[in-house]
C-alpha cells in the first residue's frame, strides 16, 4: 500500500479524536461550603474484634453523618449529573459507602474514583440531603488520625 492511500485514514482518525475530546462533559467542583459534618472526626474501629489466622482481613470502619448542602445555582434550570468524588489520598486506598434520605443516590466508591449521586434537572439553587458515610481503611494504614477529603462534581449536559 502506498503512502498516498494511507493519508485519508490518518486524517479521519485525527478528526475522530478531536470530536471525542470536544464532546466530553465538563466537570466542575460544586461549592459545598454549606455542608456540615456532625462530627469533625470519624472514629475508626476494627470491623471484627478478632483478627483472622493470617493478617489478611484487618479492616477498620468508621461512620459519620453529613448534612449536605451543595450550591447548584449556576446550573439552575439546566440538567446535570452530580458525582461524589473521593480523590486518591493518604494514607492509601479508602472505601466509602453511604446511604441518603432520598434526594441523592446511595452508593459506594473507592478512593481515586467518583460515583453518580444525581442526574436530572436542577430545579433549586441548593440541593440538600443527609448522608451517612461509612469509611473503610486497612488497619495497617491507620497509624494515626488522617484527614480525608471528598467533593461533589457537576457534569453539565
Amino acid at each position: 500500500m502506498s503512502a498516498a492511500h494511507l493519508r485519508p485514514f490518518f486524517l479521519a482518525l485525527a478528526l475522530t479524536i478531536i470530536w471525542a475530546s470536544t464532546a466530553q462533559a465538563k466537570s466542575i467542583t460544586i461549592d459545598d461550603s454549606g455542608s456540615q459534618a456532625l462530627a469533625p472526626s470519624v472514629a475508626m474501629r476494627w470491623k471484627t474484634a478478632a483478627p483472622a489466622r493470617s493478617a489478611a482481613d484487618n479492616v477498620m470502619l468508621g461512620t459519620t453523618t453529613i448534612r449536605v448542602r451543595i450550591n447548584v445555582m449556576p446550573w439552575l434550570r439546566h440538567s446535570g449529573r452530580i458525582y461524589l468524588a473521593l480523590p486518591a489520598q493518604q494514607p492509601g486506598p479508602i472505601g466509602l459507602s453511604w446511604i441518603t434520605q432520598g434526594r441523592l443516590l446511595p452508593g459506594q466508591v473507592r478512593s481515586g474514583n467518583r460515583v453518580l449521586v444525581y442526574a436530572g434537572p436542577i430545579t433549586t439553587p441548593f440541593m440538600e440531603d443527609t448522608l451517612t458515610f461509612e469509611f473503610s481503611v486497612a488497619g495497617s494504614l491507620m497509624q494515626r488520625a488522617v484527614p480525608v477529603t471528598y467533593h461533589f462534581e457537576m457534569d453539565e449536559d
Partner: protein
Amino acid sequence: MALDPASPQAIYLQVGVGSFTADYCGGTSYPPLHATPNCGPAYGGGTPQNNATVNSVSATVAAAAVGNSTAQAMTTNSTATNSFLDGYLFCSVPAQLYIGGFYRTTGAATAAAQVTVTVPSALTNSAGNSIPFSKIQWTSSGNGDTGAEPFPAGTFINGGVQTIGSMASNTWNESCWTFSYLNNTVPPAGTYTGVVLYTMTTP
C-alpha cells in the same frame, strides 16, 4: 474531616477455657471452611470476653511406676476444644490444653507480642517436699495443623520467666499442648501442686 483510629489496640490470651460472644468466623474464606454453627452476627465476628477460670493439668503416678523414667501423661480439666476463630474442633480434652489469642494494633506490622510464663521453682506438697518444675514438659499440635506451632513444645524452667511463644500483630495464633511428667525421680508420696502464670506482652 479526619479518620481517627479510636480503638486501635486489643489483646486476647486464652490458656484453657476462654470466652467469646460468638466465633470470629471471618477471615478470607466466606463462608468459613469449617462447620461454624456459632458464627458472630452476619459473620462480623464475636467479641472476646474475660474468663477468670484457672484450669489445672495433673497426673497420678501409680506407686509401682514412681520414678521409672516412663513419662506420665497429664490431663487437664479444661473443656476448651473448639477454636473461637472458626468453631473448628482443634484440641482434644482431657489430653490437651488450648492456648491461643491475638494482638490487634494499627499501622504496619509490628514486632510480635511475647507470651511468657512465670514459673515457681518447684511443685510442693503439704509436707514441704518438692518436685522441680522442669520435670514437666509439653508437646504442641492441633487438629489439622501442619508446620510450626505458634506455641511450640517445651519444658518448664525451675523458677523464673520463660518465653513460650509469640503472636505476630493482627493474626490469630493457637496450639494445643499435651503435658507430661518426666517421672525420673522418686519424691516422697504426696500431692504436689504449683501455679504458673501466663502473660502476654505487646511491643
